[in-house]
Structure formats: C-alpha cells, structure tokens
Amino acid sequence: MSTPVADKLPATRFIDPKVLIRIQNLELVARTVVEGFVQGLHRSPYMGFSVDFAAYRQYMPGDEIRRIDWNVFGRSDRLYVKLYEGETNTRVLVMLDVSGSMRYGSGEVTKIDYARILAASLCYFSHHQRDGVGLLTFDTEIRGHVPPSRRRGQMLTILSELDRVQPSQQTEFRKPLRFLAEYLTRRGVIVVISDLYDEPDNIIAGLKALKAKGNDIIVFHIMDNFELTFPFEDMAQFEDMETQKKLHVIPEYLRTQYLAILKEHMERISKELAGTRIDYCLMDTSKPLDSGLFTYLAARSKSV
C-alpha cells in the first residue's frame, strides 16, 4: 500500500486517523484534512488554469511570467496573476460503499469512519475548487444519493448524508454501477470508496462501463490492517459482518492461504483497472488519511 513517495514524507505532517475520529464535526475534519493537504500542494503549477477570469492573486515566485496581468502592473506597480474559473469546474461523484463489512475496524478507526472522512475530504476539496460535488451511498442497492451540484449548501447536504450512513448489507457492485451508468448523462469524475468485497468481475465490469462513458474513475480500496496481515493467533469463531455467517477458524491453518487469496484478489483488480486507465489506490486504515490522498494525487499528477 505504501509507496516510496509516502515513505519519504515526514510522519508529523499527516494527521493520525485516531485523532480525526475524535473530531465529531465532519466538516471540520474535512477542512483539517484538506487544508493540510492543499498547503502541501500550493506549489502545484496546475491550479487555476482556465479561460474564464475568476480573481487576481499576487504574483509569487514560480508563477509563469506570461500569466502576469501587465495592465494591473501598469496601474498599480504590483505584480498580479489572473486566476480563471472553469478549469476544475467538473462534476465529482463520490460513491461510498456502506456495506456491513465497512463497519470492521481492528482499532479505534473503522473502515466506514475512515471512508467517511475520505469522502468528506474529497467533497470538501472538490467543492473548494468549485466543482459540482455529489454523493452516492450503496451496498446491494443505492442507499442514498445527493446529485452533484455547485450550489451553496451542497456541502452540508453531503456531510449530513455521510453522517447518516449505517452500514448493514452485503456489497454488490453490479446493480449500483448499472444504475449509475444509466443515470449519469454528463461526464465527470467518479470516486469509488469501498473495501471491494465483491467478485472482481462484477467490480471491473461495472467500472469499465462507466469508464466507457468517458468518466474519470478513481477507486480507493479501504482495508483494515488486520485484513491485510491476518495477525490472529487463537482459534475462534469468525462472524461475517455482512451475512452474520459463522466459521470456526484456526488462524494458523488459514493465514497463508487467506493472504494468498487476498493478494490475488487485489492484484487482479488493480491490474484490470490499470488496463482500463482507472486509478486504484489502496488505503490502510491504520495509516494517515491525508498521506494516502497525497500519495494518490502526487502519483496522479505525474501521470497527467
């Protein structure tokens, strides 16, 4: 999960998910995450590249000289650059998996908590960029839907929707993705946040259909550290949080096989998605969330 870029980042720069989870206000959480994140990206040369004027900003070293408004300079002897709207004015739809398995958490942070913060952060970030932001929660069905919009108050609606989610059912990608493929008429960015507990074929087929319509898709694979390492020792009855099915498990018998199957599952998905230019990012809930975001966006910016 961790990439070489993430490893080079100072740990103190990112906020521990355990700390974030103690902040009850989701908006505050999202702002905390995003502002730290944005601050890290302020040197990015890609911000505000558009044809519609939005505002002036004081010139800062690193800005392209051609973007300096010389008229303003002539009037005020100060260097300003022009900022334009429309460059990121796209529709971002966050698809959040609210199946029962998302309730799992080996420590204080469950996967749904982590995913909720991630979703909120992404929405806040996009909203901040004046993109139209929407939210769709799903398990076997579509459980909640906030269509993307740039209007004021959209963010509050999304946050309140995120607050309400109660994971319970199984994960089923086929149906929600089919619905989405029919529903979405305009192209945009689709962010999928899920633990991907479904057959890879179902996931990949659905996402491919969306991709085919010209959407830019990013998949955040949320996994708990225990799911990734299976560090259990004692014999126990494992209860499936989606189906409530129980299984006698002697961890030492199963660990190797389980990890092999999981690896195969993840590799297949990441490989297939990479083949269709869908971004895939594995997020370990024990790692800082903004670190994951940074890692992802850093990698993405390189590829653009």
């Binding site: 398995s101 998302m102 309730r103 799992y104 996967k111 994960t171 633990d195 507990y197 708990d224 799911e227 259990f232 004692d234 014999m235 126990a236 009855q237 494992f238 209860e239 499936d240 949080m241 989606e242 189906t243 099915k245 129980k246 299984l247 006698h248 498990v249 002697i250 030492e252 018998y253 199963l254 096989q257 389980y258 199957i261 999981l262 599952h265």
Partner: protein
Amino acid sequence: MSLLNPFFLFGSLALAIPVLIHLVRREKSEIVPFSSLMFLLKVPKRSIRQQKMKNLLLMALRLLILALLVGAFARPYMTQPAKPVPSSISNRGTVLMLDNSYSMQYGDNFKKLKDEAAKRIDGLRASDRMAIIAFNESASLLMRPTGDKNTLKAAVDTLEPSFAGTRYYEAFTLADRVLGEFSGDQKQLVVISDFQRNGWNRSSRESVIDNDVKTETVNLGIKDSNNVGIDSVIVEQPTSFSRTYTGRIIARIHNYNQEKPVVVPVVVMLDDKEVGKKDVTVSAKGTALAEFNGFDLRLGFLKGRVRINSDDPLKVDNEFLFSIERREKLNVLVVDAGKAKQSQYLKQAYTSSAELPFEITNVTASAITPEELAKHEVVIINDVPRLPEKVRDKMDELRKTGQGQMVILGENADISWWSAYPKLPVKPVQKIFVARDRGKPFVSMTSYDRNHPIFKPFEKSTRVAMNSAQFIGYMSAEAKPDAAVLAKFEDGSPAIVESSKDDHGLLVFNSTVDTRWNDFPYKTSFLPLFQEMIRYLSRYNESRGWYQLGEGISVTAGVGNATAAVIDPKGERQSLGDIVAGQSKFFTPSMPGFHEIRVGPDTRMIAVNPPSSEGNLDPMPPDELIASVQRTQGESQQAGFLASDEKDEYARRQMGWWYLLLFALLAGMTEIYIANRRYKTS
C-alpha cells in the same frame, strides 16, 4: 494379560488432559466479528484438513507416547493360557474338612457336623471322588480319595470330637496336598466347622488353596454362646513338704456370655473328696478368681479337680485337673570330724527357713555306720581325715541306688587316704596355703560351668557373684579323666568336681565350709550354691500342677537305666522304652486326664487339661477365613511358576514393559520429525 503394578494405570488419566484442554478451548472459543468471510471461505478445505490431520497425528502420537509409558510402568505380563473350564459333566474331586476340635462338643454341634458330612457324601455322583480330613490342632487324613459312599460314611461315623484346640492352617495345607491328587477334576473343598476365631492366626501366611478350587463352608458357629468355663488354675506349690497345704489354688473362671453375669459354684476336690467350695459371680464377658487353701494332704500325688456347676452346653471346660505332691523332707546326713563349728554354716544353709525341704542329721566320722548312711537321701562328708572302709564301700553301693553324696576336702583330710579312694573323681595332691604357696593373700573361684544345674541361681542374678569369696587355703587336686570340673580357682585348680556319668551322684568341694580356709559362708553365693548342690544330688524336681494337652512332657530317668511307661486316664499303658540315666524322653498326651508316669520304681502323676482357648466360641466369618487361605489368580500363577522353576519363561512373560518403552521411543522420534517439518513449513 495382567499387570504387576496396576496402580500405575491411574497415570493414564493424564491422557485426558490434552483432550480436555482441546474440548474446553473449543467450547469457549470466542466470536470474532470479521469484515467478510469471503476469502476465508475460499481457502481450500483440503488444505485445512491436511493441517488438521497433521495436528491430530501429532496429538495422537503424544497421547500414544504417554499411554505407552503408563503401560510400561504398570508392568504388564502375559498370563498363562486359561485352563479349560471343567464342564458340569466332568469328574469332581471333593475334600471334606471336618472340625473335631473340642469346641465342637458344644450342644449337638458334632451331630450336626456328621449330618452335614453325610449329606455331602450322599450328593456324590458315580464318577466323583471324595477325601475326608479331620482337623483340630493337627490335621489327619481320615479317608483317602474314594468314590465309595459307604466307606466314606463309615469314616465319618468313627469320627469323635477330640480334646484338642483348633488350627485351620495345617488343615488347609493338608487339603491342598490332597486336592493336588484330583488332577483334571473339578476341585471342591467343603469345610464344616464352628469357625472359631481362635483357630486362625492372623499373622500373614502364605495362601495355600489354589484359586481354581471351588470352596463351600458349612458354618456351625455359635454367635452368642452362654458358655462358662475354667480358663486356668494356679497351683502355687505343686510339691508340698507339709501336711497342711500352705500354698493357694487359684481358679480363673471366664464367662463368655456377652450380656448376663452368672453366679457359679466352684468346688475343689482332692482325690475325689471335696476340700473347698465357693460361689463366684462372673460378670458378662469377664473373669473372676476363686481361691482355696488350708486343706490337708496325704503323702504322694493327689488328683485335684476344680469344678464349676454350670448348665452351659460345653461341658468339657467346666472341670480343670491338677495334681499336688506331698513329699517328706530330704534327709541330709552331715558327717564331719567333730570339730567345733565345722558344720555350723552348712547346717544353717539347709535349715534357714521352715519352707526348705531339708532335714539335717549331723554325725562324726567315727560314729558313722553303713546303716545310718543308708537312711538318708543325701550324705555330706564334711572334711574328715578318712572314713571307715565299710562306710566307704557302702557309699559306693548307695550311689548306685540314687543316693547323692558330697565330699568336702579341707584341712582335716588325709591326702594319702583320699587319693587312694578310687571312686573319688579327684586325686588330692597338696593342701595349698595361698599366702605361702602362691605368694598372694587369697584366690577366688573365677570360672564355673554356667550350664550346670547347681549354678542355676547365678544365671541371671547380678547381685550374687561366685568370685566374691576369698580362699586363703584349698586342696590342690587333679581331676580324674571322666570327671567333670564344674568350678576352678583362679590358678586353675579344680574347686568343684563331679563324678563321671557311670558313677553318677558324687560332688567334691576342695576347700572347707567353715571360715578357716575362706570367707565363703559369709558370702551371698554360699547358701544358694549349697542348696542347689543338694537338690541336684537328691534329683529333686518340682512337679508342675498341670500340663496342657499337646504339650510335650519330659520323662527323665532317676538313677541308672530305667524302663519308662505312661498309664493314660483310660488305664492303658504306653511304653516309652528304656531311658538312660540322666537322659530324657518326651511324651505328648493325647487326651486330658490324669496320667501316671512310671520310670523304674518311681511313679509320678500329672494332670493334663484341654486348651482353655477352645472355651471361647466366638466365630469368624467363613468367607474371611477362605479369603485368607485361597490364592488369588495372580498368586496361583506365581506360585505355579516358581514351583515349576520356569523362571526364564516367567521373565519372558514380563518383558512387555521393554517393548512398550521401545514403541514409546519410536513414537517420540516420529513426533519430533513431524513437528519439525510442520514448524519449518509454517
């Protein structure tokens, strides 16, 4: 297959520990919520099963090692192939053990015993054989194995209750020997008895009856007997020297009844004449004493009886026999040289107490006549120069008739005359004055023959020491070859010498018994030594008041060889043959009553009583007795092995532990290999 240390099998409980831990942990396995079982369910079952199998195999191996160790410590051994069980149609060999101890005279017990025996005989089939053993204190084979019912019945009919006690062990030993004759038959042992507890010695004894013998008991025991009997009688003076009996006759009466006390009249009879009577109250399960004394005795042996008038069913112990002998005192003649105080201490030694059985007559050597000599049982020649020839010859003659003689050689003795006396066991050499001849103030009598009867008083006493007397003079003498030196002075010179066995009855003391040559009369050892010497010379034996049936009675010849015989209470004479003088023969009476023992001209009467323990009829459970004498299966096999001397075979059958340890080692190595592989894999 059997085990030598079966208690080690408790160790196998340890096998349950890992299994229990497994089950308990399984029961208590907690529920762990997990996001999805999707991947876990995809794990191939085969792989899990293989791992489980490996683990189960390991656990099984560990349990097997434990079980093998437990098995090895329990020392298994192979039992002999089971003997074929005799079918009901096979021949039966029965040994019938019939108790004819005197307790079986209780009521009609003996009749019941005969009836029961007759029933068993009637139950015999044509092919069956039976042997009969009668037992009391000893066991005898009444009838060898036979199938003839009439012969068996006749043998039972002739059986009479004895007066002997009960001893089971010897009877069972004999029964085992007889049962051995029934090889191949179904063996059976029938015991008909009152199962008196007294007959069984609880001390550990080897079991004698094989475990394949079928046992049956017919219990004629009496649980609550109302028997009252005489346990014993103490006759304080079995030999009396006075007309009026000064001792006491003490009878101990025992009431075996558990609940009620009884009052019994106790009568003492001498020669069938009642001489005393008392009523005695005996508490339940208790004893009481009845004392009698002060009656007159005639000379000779008197037949005594203590009798209680009780109407209990066991009559035998209601009468107890004893004997008392009244004798005249021993006539002792002291012949001395007529010097003042020469025999004073000697006479005092024999007359110091009225109880002593001695009558002393003192004459001088010049006045002694052969006739006078013949009137006495014992003659003491106390330091005289010489004796008249006739007297000396008479002495030789009287010794042959049993007279005891003692010669004291002191300062008056004429050495030449006494050394010429051929029958004297010593040859006097010289009168020794210690200070002059030996250069020291005195000598002591330092060594003596402790086994000789005359030194009996010094056997155990620490106060009376022979060496305390100081001798300033003594007669040095040489002992003749056949003579026995009984005591010596410290320079090795004989002090007391006994004549040879051919000329029995002459003792020589080589010093004086006044105080001129020694201070012996002042010492505590003087009186008992000289009294014992006279007793020995007179062949004086104290009689015993009574003997118990089965006890050996010594019969000793008095003077010279004699023919001995016993007249039993029925008047039948039993010869004991010739007895050499000084030797003994033993006679064991077979019935209670007064027995007359005749040795030559002497006759003495002894009373014989049945063992009083038989009066206690308290029975023991027959099963307990059978369990004590019958071997267990293991004992039988062990006994069989050792008897057949097949020790190698026995050892081979016990080799199981060795194989078990070997298997445990192999299992341990396999376990290490599998566990190691599994560890590496994981």
